[in-house]
Symmetry: C4
Subunit: 188 residues, 4 copies
């Protein structure tokens, strides 16, 4: 499988191999940063199906997933519940406080945590976790402070790629792909 | 017409020439993978007009079309009915079972079937049909397991390009284009 | 002004200089081809503000504008009325018939008409007007049958660019830009 | 911090260093120019979260922000109030008159004002302020009349980049980033 991750440095895989919790920001990571409204103040969000498709595999291997976001949006809450995130916090001013309390509740160390963020408010967590990542279109002065800059822009599957790297680093992706790709269907 | 398909290998045309059924995934193929909601859990989908414009020509030449998708969405059902897909199945866990039953019902062999998919769940069908394709932005470890990687990303006209290749491989596209392009209009 | 149109061939300007009517397709030209629905069959369209901003200048120089589209959409009708198109026809099967009747009603020749389209259904008109154009992401076998392939993709301002070329070819753009760019504001 | 702004000329920073008011157009700058409607004439706008995230830092350093737009849209008014713009004017025909009255009300000179616009209607202000900028996808004959062409397209964070340049030019960005990036979190 490593051939699909040629652009990922060996050090990144080493960091990813220890991860038991993957937490992500929402706007600009799970979305392309689009804040969409209509005339009646209804809010809309565009998520990426590829991000959701990996959740069952993370759960199957007991890697916890969480969301911490600075904005307050009903549609994000609904998406988090649809994807069965282990925790999700919205309208958070100090992300690191919420983050640390969750790490503690799960009995983990910071080295066992990964975080994906794209902006200034994410820096305190990004600089302290075991494995940090951001979208390819993150703010420039955030982008050079993470362990891994995704091949993808926000909303294109950044969460998916980071999840794939974590699963692959722990030897949990290859068998899934191999089993699915080697099924033989018979002419009916 | 082959000059418009210079990027398509001869082997791809050979496989396409046998196709009597074209089945496609939805999210990430007919769309760009965008999963869009508002505050009230209403779902939105963005399809591509170019995909729909080729359906009448597929039908005119009795090439069947179908949809099999893992998600459950009213808006996708409506679009399938608008485009008069011969069959469409939603919320499917094991895509290959549904696929095989449809192939059987139509009295076809797997060699006569084409499939477009973009993710891990599509691998069993992609690896067993006569002609398999995926969008240019499919998941990397899916992308290298298909016969043809589209010039287009999901939602940009992947289905249209695959349909065009099938029609062209069967000698059914050139006359349509030639007839339309050679009509003479008279000054009124 | 010609420096902004370096990519436009001299022959294109010659054709554009005779135009008195600019007609456009909608989906894939005024939009990026996105066909967007929600669960309740409500349709959404995304137009481009840049296309609308040039309409007042076309009208000021008595260049007529029209829309002929194969699809039937309330939201497109509303946009045509907002932009005060001189005529707009929707759900048209044979575009050339409607087109010719409008050319006749306006007392024009085909050489005085420009048309923008992106797909197979547009070929009869594209091949017979004085000046034909398409978006950069038009269907490949349409793209090489027009006088001018826009620098832009559908929904990015294709109509605007073609309108700019027509105005510039007739010496009607430079003074507008010069006047606006040379206004002197005084410190209050 | 200057390493993140390598693409920005020294002269641009000199102009930015004097700015006390940043005014922006909306469509094509805060958005990608998308004018989105549904069947019921409801309007939708897609803004960029990155633009909003810098507002608190502009306010903290008493840099005023304003919006002047030619279109009239409820959803834009709501977004301006959400972001607490110091002023916002909609449906404006002559932007320069409104602009000058605001400059006067704030007791500023034109040299202390920055403006971001993308189209012909913005030229009178762009050519007279102390620091002018436009998105990378602005109309070509506007693009070469500004002090700075953003690295970003409309809706991708143009306002954010210009705000970052202003803050950085005034020595107000580095400490914020440094403080956030150097916080030490303790294993719980």
């Amino acid at each position: 499988m490593r051939e699909y991750f040629r652009h990922v440095a060996k050090e990144v895989f080493e960091k990813a191999s220890k991860i038991k919790l993957l937490v992500t920001d929402v706007d600009g990571v799970l979305t392309d940063g689009g804040v969409i409204y209509d005339d009646h103040k209804t809010e809309f969000k565009r998520f990426q199906v590829k991000d959701g498709q990996i959740v069952q595999f993370l759960k199957a291997h007991d890697i916890k997933i969480g969301v911490i976001t600075g904005r307050n949006s009903v549609v994000v809450k609904n998406r988090c519940e649809e994807l069965k995130f282990d925790f999700h916090f919205h309208g958070v001013k100090e992300k690191s406080l919420v983050f640390l309390s969750q790490v503690k509740a799960l009995g983990l160390t910071l080295e066992e945590c990964a975080y994906i963020g794209d902006d200034i408010i994410d820096l305190p967590i990004l600089k302290n976790v075991g494995f940090s990542a951001c979208p390819d279109d993150a703010i420039p002065y955030v982008k050079d402070k993470v362990d891994y800059v995704s091949f993808y822009k926000g909303g294109e599957g950044v969460f998916r790629e980071v999840a794939d790297i974590i699963l692959e680093s722990q030897g949990k992706l290859e068998s899934v792909v191999h089993n699915l790709a080697s099924q033989k269907l018979q002419n009916p």
